[in-house]
Symmetry: C2
Amino acid sequence: MDRTAVHPGRALHKVLTMIDETHDPHSETWVESAQEHPDFPLQNLPWGRFMPADGRPRTGMAIGEQILDLNRMASLELLQGEAMEALQKALQEPIGLDAGQRLALRRAVFDLLRVGGRGSDRARAQREHLLHDAKACTMLLPARIGSFSDFNAGIHHTMNGRQMRGDGGGVLPRNYHHVPIAYHARSSSVCLSGTPVRRPLGQTLAKGADKPVYGPVQWLDIELELGIWIARGNELGETIPIEDAADHIAGYCLLNDWSARDIMAWEMDRLGPFLGKSFATTISAWVISPEALAPFRRAAYARDSADEPLQHLLGPEDQRHGALDLQLAVDMRSRSQRDAGEPRHRVVTSSTAYLYWTPAQMVCHHASNGCNLEPGDLLGTGTISGPEPQMFASFRERSRIGTEPFRMGQELRCWAEDGDEIALSAWGNREGYAQIGFGPCQAEIMPATTGPSTKADTRP
Amino acid sequence: MDRTAVHPGRALHKVLTMIDETHDPHSETWVESAQEHPDFPLQNLPWGRFMPADGRPRTGMAIGEQILDLNRMASLELLQGEAMEALQKALQEPIGLDAGQRLALRRAVFDLLRVGGRGSDRARAQREHLLHDAKACTMLLPARIGSFSDFNAGIHHTMNGRQMRGDGGGVLPRNYHHVPIAYHARSSSVCLSGTPVRRPLGQTLAKGADKPVYGPVQWLDIELELGIWIARGNELGETIPIEDAADHIAGYCLLNDWSARDIMAWEMDRLGPFLGKSFATTISAWVISPEALAPFRRAAYARDSADEPLQHLLGPEDQRHGALDLQLAVDMRSRSQRDAGEPRHRVVTSSTAYLYWTPAQMVCHHASNGCNLEPGDLLGTGTISGPEPQMFASFRERSRIGTEPFRMGQELRCWAEDGDEIALSAWGNREGYAQIGFGPCQAEIMPATTGPSTKADTRP
């Protein structure tokens, strides 16, 4: 197994395709709840920010049903050298760790938590001190989100959208093969998994109506996306070469880009969605590292040779290994189903293999005009639908704009209803490797408020 | 003159239409450079963040060619009571001052700087200590910009855009009368006046070409806008009633929404501009307060009665006094003109009277779906063109997409060229009041870099 030190810069091949002992599925951990954990086995080690009962924010790593407290680990001096330096940085600004630091920390923590690993006896002896019960902790945003940009890299979502609009008969827009299309999204309303989502108010125009009305939206929708956290930015006016782009990524999360389709239908002309999406975006709390996802790397989406991207978006390593092969799902249940003790019903399955652009291509494109990315920026991939109806990763596609309800257990749905509990999930699963999951990304829909307190007779 | 204490909340009428002795054009200041200063007379007193030669960031107010150092003013204990409390807050988080605090501070500073004003002898005796030469100082952003949202409230700009696209023959989009249309913009690349703007690289598709190319853009454009700083936000899921909306505004600046029209033409499908604008936005450094602009309040844009906005956007006070009547201009010169000692040439004049929505309506709409605004958010109004060609406030309109060059002294222009120095200005001018200006909002265009360092033969 290769123990070569990894330094940042053009490290895509070295780091992202690197398989080492931290991916060995036979390694055992003394944290019992992590053995064969579907999300957080020893081989995952995602980081996040959390608050235990004492109310002080800290950095941790998810391991089974526990959280490893990195602040306490530092005070115990269980790590040395490069790993200790990385740990110190992880306590200050974890989003900014570079690939070498992430790897040093990953390897050291892997050893500490592994049965027979270096330092594991000392760590195990301190388990009461080092581990928190995850259920007793409150998760925090992993970073202050600078800007949130949302791409449109799900090729089937784009085709479905055009087909349903009767716009080009399902043919992709002309620029789609060349431009990783994106729009600026709203960062202030990004929420962590578990935060209820209030049905927004908005202006909508009913079919055939003369005037819009302002009130609770009817067409409340989800979008199943992957989120990409930026570790390192670029100076304004500088670009990020495709060969370096993957090194700017801190890791990944799940992202539900809640959408009010009736607001969007009325507000959008040429400037994109605004209030139709800015009321809430739900993300999962743990940052899944590129290292943990190394076994699930795959070649970029296979294109027709005529559709090859321009040179500045074509890194050969990125093309060979830069895409991800992760399974995706949406599960949901109504309030009455939950009250009856029913589990959630799976309504969508999909895969990140349907992304037309790699994460590195999105990063490279974003900075290709000199726009400065910053640590803590969040990119969404866009809705990741697959080619079959059960793979349509928004209700708009799944119900064909509300005309073909889909089944949720014994109930039918076209759009999200009040009390619905909607959960996204993502996981990597490949023969010979431990399953790596993203943890929860769920929210319950709360009823709309009645609207702003405008006076009854304010007209002049 | 009314000296009633002003408290935040539904204070639009009280504050924004309040004319008091701080608007008296006959008041004299002992700061000689401020007498009849076109931008920063005694009656303006905008605040900003700056750094004198000693390199420590501080809060100040522009007065003539000087900056009043509020940090030093606090240490001299020249203020008492409410004004001193407001000053303390202005040193910590000036953007968050509420209307009452701003007014208390404005009145106290006005007195200190006025010949014969309360405390003015003590202040004048400390003038060496209190005043910096503005030219020797570096301006800083007045706040950390949370999010930047750009509206499309300039009605003539919208009509011109549609006419030039052959889209509806100059008729407004159907939603225009009801929706203050906006899109999320990029906050990281917002720069202060004086920062050079590098010509961006981007993907563009030449007319008749099969494939796009990546390189320096050709159609580099400006957009003359007003910026609106947010002082106070709202909780996620809550709205901001129109009656309260003006109280969420900290003040105003100029905003040049640089635009690469050739990138936009290729990248935009339905999701709005992205790389076509995210490379740079230039703003003026001083925050012009609603109080300073009180004399230039005017009634909202006159609409056809059939086009009345929905109830939640209709505050009667906002309709009567909520719009602004400010003059706007664009002046520019080429590098060779500058080298020859020519002044800038005026190429656009316009007015904020052409905004179809008031600032309060923009704030109310932005939060009407429960989207949480935050202190330090920046809103752009959109390009403020007037009805005549010399009032078209973008080059795209001014040159009819590059087909009708306009005159800049002895030179002709369709788009911004390297070396061009482009300055926006705004001022209020009304009989019986001192002229209030915004200060500089200018930038010089630098040539593009040659592009990212992709290797020559990276194809597989």
